[in-house]
């Protein structure tokens, strides 16, 4: 699967998790693409942790770029009718206080216990956690949107090796190969990607997967 199709597959599948009325925060990178695939018949509000609700799509005309209106990645953004601006303490009261229905983030590693690592690789890359630690602790549902492997190496592990972002907070993992639910019993393979077989998913996953009798394909 080429990169573009892969990203589209993941974003489309994550978008199917959104329900009418949901308040949602999308992380930087691939999670941002989810906004492009929200079903037209539902109303979803996106939060931008730099301080507003009602995040809209990026302006297409560069002339209309307003430096006072950027998303959490510092990129041009827009605000939808009915949106609201607020300061960082209120933004994180929304986030930490359990007022968001869903947060969608990327990850470097996820494990069987729903632990997540996505903010640093010791001695290599230190980005900082930004708002991620608050988001995964506070949102009602945490969805990880990521490629199934990194350069062929599994990212869904028995136990995260990198410094954690949070413990036991991940609810659902969506990759180009699979939808995997984190349960008290372990990781359950719920759906297969457009081109993957059960065996391929098992081979690309270090963690133990619980495999139901019937694993349907994603209905994209």
């Amino acid at each position: 699967m080429n990169k573009e199709r892969l990203r589209e597959t993941i974003a489309k599948r994550v978008a199917m998790e959104l329900k009418d009325g949901d308040m949602v925060n999308l992380g930087i990178g691939m999670p941002t693409l989810v906004a492009n695939y929200v079903p037209e018949d539902i109303d979803v509000t996106f939060q931008s942790e730099n301080g507003f609700l009602g995040l809209g799509l990026a302006p297409t005309d560069p002339e209309s770029f307003d430096p006072d209106l950027v998303n959490a990645g510092g990129l041009p953004a827009s605000i939808r009718i009915g949106g609201a601006f607020f300061d960082s303490t209120q933004s994180f009261a929304i986030i930490r206080g359990g007022h968001l229905d869903i947060t969608v983030l990327g990850a470097m590693q996820v494990d069987e216990k729903g632990n997540l690592a996505n903010w640093m690789i010791p001695k290599k890359m230190v980005a900082g956690m930004g708002g991620a630690m608050d988001l995964v602790v506070g949102a009602k549902k945490v969805i990880i949107a990521m490629e199934h492997t990194a350069k062929g190496n599994p990212k869904i592990l028995k136990e995260c090796q990198l410094p954690l972002t949070a413990v036991n907070q991940v609810d659902l993992i969506v990759t180009e190969m699979a939808v995997i639910e984190v349960t008290d019993e372990g990781l359950v393979l719920k759906e297969l990607g457009p081109e993957a077989t059960v065996q391929e998913v098992i081979d690309a996953t270090e963690a133990k997967l619980l495999i139901p009798e019937d694993v349907p394909r994603m209905k994209l």
């Binding site: 730099n50 300061d87 960082s88 933004s91 900082g128």
Partner: protein
């Protein structure tokens, strides 16, 4: 009217070695004129408290790139390659704080509180050296207040008493930082007479603001 000062006077209030809070999120809502003046004056050995270190050529990131900073307390450094490089090679001290925790620590300092309990960071490196408390069965970290010598902020309209009105996503950390520093300086895009800002629209009341300075460049 004594509150209105020049950019030069504002920069002179920041001395070598001071801790400064700087409003803004990826440079959006930062006091760009004051930052430029500090860059020209080569004020150094600063401790910067800011959401992120922006980019090497924008906002507070420029002071990092110019090596005027000895310590940063921030949630994210990944967009400024100089922050990471100086941390690894030149001993720049970096304290990474989850974004919501950063905002709330600042709020505690401004609100006269001794600290607060947050679930963010439990089970991660963030908990190192901190007191962990269990309240009603849930684990929390005790986080302590964070104050500074000077806060450098930015507002769209500021009246000569110091009441501040913000535009769009520029609000972010500005209102909370206004409460937490010994000296608070707001860079105004426009300085207006008292009464020209509807009291209903004041976000930061004048009581928190010591000085006002007219900005010259807003997005460089």
């Amino acid at each position: 009217m004594k509150k209105v000062i020049t950019l030069e006077e504002a920069a002179n209030l920041v001395k070598d070695g001071m801790s400064i809070m700087v409003g803004g999120f990826m440079g959006c809502g930062s006091p760009h004129s004051i930052i430029r003046t500090l860059e020209e004056k080569k004020t150094r050995n600063l401790t910067i408290i800011c959401n992120d270190t922006s980019r090497v050529d924008y906002g507070i990131g420029k002071l990092v790139a110019a090596k005027q900073v000895s310590k940063v307390i921030t949630s994210h450094i990944g967009t400024n390659r100089e922050t990471g490089r100086q941390m690894n090679e030149e001993g720049l001290e970096v304290e990474l704080v989850p974004q919501g925790t950063l905002a709330e620590r600042i709020r505690c300092a401004g609100a006269g509180l001794g600290g607060f309990l947050t679930p963010t960071g439990v089970g991660t490196v963030v908990e190192e050296g901190k007191e962990k408390m269990t309240i009603n069965g849930q684990d929390f970290l005790l986080e302590l207040p964070l104050s500074a010598d000077v806060a450098l902020l930015s507002g769209a309209k500021v009246d000569t008493k110091g009441n501040v009105y913000y535009e769009k996503a520029t609000r972010n950390f500005n209102p909370v930082m206004a409460m937490a520093a010994k000296t608070v300086i707001v860079e105004a895009r426009e300085i207006v007479e008292p009464g020209e800002i509807d009291p209903n629209h004041v976000v930061t009341p004048a009581i928190f603001v010591d000085y006002i300075v007219k900005g010259e460049n807003f997005h460089e």
